[in-house]
């Protein structure tokens, strides 16, 4: 992780991810906010690849940058007469204070903790290992997740059904 390529990739992807997230929070038009959000999702996918999580990087692009972003765009175009703006309520300053306090707390704990040396080799290829883990050790959560997805799909359909 100390080679020049990894360092450059980390800082570039970190700047992309965080910058796009800040743009999402700051910009006034919701559609532009969604575009910035997709950029942030892609930055996180790149960070996953940098952390040698190839399968999760691809899944992040497919599910987050693809499906969830399209869902959000659907929700925006299905609520046309609503306020299209991305403005804040009166809770702007308390929210800033709480978020800043939480950031400070987590960073302080992360920097104060001794994590060991952490200089391990990266994973080689994770897709087959994740597949085997899902069907051996985590087979019950895997099945429960499928039931959860079915229930969520039915619930979403029932909620937006035209009566």
């Amino acid at each position: 992780m100390e080679d020049a390529g990894s360092v450059v990739a980390f800082w570039a992807l970190a700047a992309l991810t965080l910058g796009a997230a800040v743009v999402t929070a700051a910009v006034r038009d919701l559609v532009r906010a969604v575009v910035a959000l997709v950029l942030s999702f892609l930055g996180v996918a790149g960070l996953f690849v940098l952390l040698s999580a190839d399968f999760l990087g691809v899944a992040q692009v497919l599910i987050y940058a693809g499906a969830i972003s399209v869902l959000i765009v659907f929700a925006i175009v299905l609520t046309p007469r609503a306020a299209r703006d991305n403005a804040e309520t009166a809770m702007l300053w308390p929210a800033l204070a709480i978020a800043g306090a939480l950031i400070g707390l987590v960073i302080a704990v992360a920097l104060a903790t001794d994590w060991g040396d952490g200089a391990r080799e990266g994973f080689r290829e994770t897709a087959s290992a994740i597949g085997e883990a899902l069907l051996n050790r985590y087979v019950l959560p895997f099945e429960v997740a499928s039931v959860l997805l079915l229930a969520a799909m039915l619930g979403a359909i029932v909620l937006v059904r035209e009566d």
Binding site: M1, E2, A14, L18, A21, V22, T24, A25, L30, A33, L37, S40, V44, L47, L51, A53, L56, Q60, I63, Y64, A67, L71, I72, F74, A75, I76, L78, T79, A82, A83, D85, N86, A87, E88, T89, L92, A95, L96, I98, A99, L102, I103, V106, I107, A110, L111, W115, G116, R120, E121, I130, A133, L134, Y138, A145, L149, A152, M153, A156, L159
Partner: protein
């Protein structure tokens, strides 16, 4: 590039998402903040899997698989709720959807 770099980035990303979820007026903006928080937590999970976990276990990454699955289900239901509320009340402004206020 150690674990701390990724944890600090994850904390900053989570803070931006938390700010959005707490302060936005539009329900869809709040949901975008929640998705940002999901991403930050997934990033920290993958970082822990990469730097702290014994090789060939991958529990952290499997956890992220389930996290992404549940996040997708949550997004579908939440956006359906937003559309349903809009149809009923012609608004997705949380200041006007205060039906449970005493």
């Amino acid at each position: 590039m150690g674990l701390e770099h990724f944890l600090v980035l994850s904390a900053l990303l989570f803070g931006v998402g938390l700010f959005m979820a707490l302060s936005k007026r539009n329900i869809i903006g709040i949901l975008m903040g929640i998705e940002l928080m999901f991403n930050a937590v997934n990033l920290s999970l993958v970082s822990f899997a990469r730097f702290l976990e014994a090789a060939e276990r991958l529990s952290g990454q499997v956890f992220v698989v389930f996290s992404i699955t549940v996040a997708a289900a949550e997004a579908a239901v939440a956006l359906a709720l937003a559309v349903a509320i809009y149809r009923r009340r012609e608004s997705v402004d949380v200041d006007r959807i205060n039906l449970l206020r005493w």
